[in-house]
Amino acid sequence: MLTPSASRNKLVGSRFSDAPAEISVVMRKVYLDHSATTPIDSRVLEAMLPYLTEKFGNASSVHGFGQEAQAAVDKARRQVASLIGARANEIVFTSGGTEANNLAIRGICEAAEIHGRHVITSAIEHPSVRGVVDQLEKDGWEITRLPVYDDGVVRLGNVRAAIRPDTILISVMMANNEIGTIQRVTEIGELLHEERKRGHRHLWFHTDAVQAAGRLSIDVQTLGCDLLSMSAHKMYAPKGSGALFIRRGVRLLPQQVGGHQERERRAGTESVANVVAFGAAAELAQNEMNERNDHTRRLRDRFETEVERRISNIVFNGNREQRLPHVSNISFRFIEGEGLLIHLDMQGVAVSTGSACSSGTLEPSPVIRALGRDEELSRGAIRFSFGKDNTEEEVDYVLEVLPRAVESLRALSPLARDASRRDMRSVPPAVAGG
């Protein structure tokens, strides 16, 4: 651990009046990256542990060990189905959200190619959707990527206008992973229903609910989607398990073959312990959803109010009403997100940025760019995502270190310096207010 010495403090202070404040390195840990992954709930761990030890059977085996494992998988399937109002046999377990998204999109497109080669999606999908769709485009499919405007929300009129006779799939996420905006998926489901009544039979609707499941109340019967992806580790279960809801009667081409598991829709021995954990986590999420959401919303809203009061030149990304209750995405002008991330990390605060700089090229977050933000704001975006176990004290700590980290980086920034010169009437752009 580095401990700034008194002499160093004195040296910095006396030589350079415009030098940034030193950042002390402390070991307090605050995890504000729950959209990336969540810690495992102790009750979930307790539920899965027997399946890592004495209950180790293969769910496909006929003997007692296998039957025990199969029963556990069946229970988990009912628990996960219940979370979204589905039937148990409409749930296919996968290795995670990415596989679920791949299976949904490739599976439908390969099965229904004869009816058309046009897919509608949004400009802010997760890379696991974006990547598949990009690959389809390379293979000659036509893709319509719907804009989201500055609020990060797809317009229903644009969905309607994009539908063509050869459209076979609409894939629009339920809630965005970077800014948390909630899409109007129920209305898209209704639109699909209307289209089908008009005779457009070969059109399916997939929604990536990896961020939404366990946080939003979902009922696939009213939602009207045909396919819905989920991931266990976003709801306090371990990484390595996900699920795809496939509405009864929807046919897709399996992407993994060579086994009869998951009703021939996904071959491979079930990861029983992970599936059990997913089931337990889904049940807990369903039972505790309101409580968790009230808690994270309260923390998030207080955090945002205070950030707005303490730090100038910030922009909130995405519609602040129509979004997940645990996400806050903020662009800090004049600084780069990765630098802020490192500064916060050195003080034990874990956050996330959608941009990445490598090999001399910058990949600004496509999500923030899709909001119409300029390059500077896209580069300066940070996602804070709260969880059920975060505390008010942790938020206080982040509110203490964040303004200092921003101030330090802005003190180094030529953009901040130039902006300050342009507008001498204002306070320095680093920190305003209390």
Binding site: D18, S24, M346, S359, L409, A411, P414
Partner: protein, 128 residues
């Protein structure tokens, strides 16, 4: 051991305690270079007297390696003769921040390019 800091700690140290940050009001050589691809920026302001860099300050916008390299180069060149400064290499900057993965070494290149730009400006205005 000459340096008690590990490579990773050297980098962190430059990020948490940037050296020579800011601008000089009496600079006689200022340059700002931008990486045209990633948009990272580095501004160096130097006060050069009698063939020596009396003072150097930096400002940087970009990823952490750009900030660290800006800090490192401003620290290294202060007090050096400009003939020696002109010979500084990218690898010396990389070493000063404790090493950089290859995908981040453009940050050190930007630091050297900015330094050369400042020295070139000084040469033009001072007939050097």
């Amino acid at each position: 051991m000459n340096n008690p800091l590990s490579y990773f700690e050297k980098f962190r140290n430059h990020i948490s305690r940037p050296r020579n940050a800011g601008e000089l009001s009496d600079a006689n050589a200022i340059a700002e270079e931008t990486n045209p691809v990633c948009g990272d920026r580095l501004r160096l302001s130097l006060r050069i007297r009698n063939g020596r860099i009396e003072a150097a300050r930096f400002l940087a916008y970009g990823c952490p390696p750009t900030l660290a390299c800006g800090s490192a180069i401003a620290e290294i060149i202060e007090g050096m003769a400009i003939d020696d400064v002109a010979k500084l290499s990218k690898n010396e900057i990389i070493a000063a921040v404790g090493g950089l993965p290859s995908r981040k070494q453009h940050a050190a290149s930007l630091a050297i390019e900015t330094l050369h730009a400042a020295l070139a400006k000084y040469a033009v205005t001072n007939g050097g």
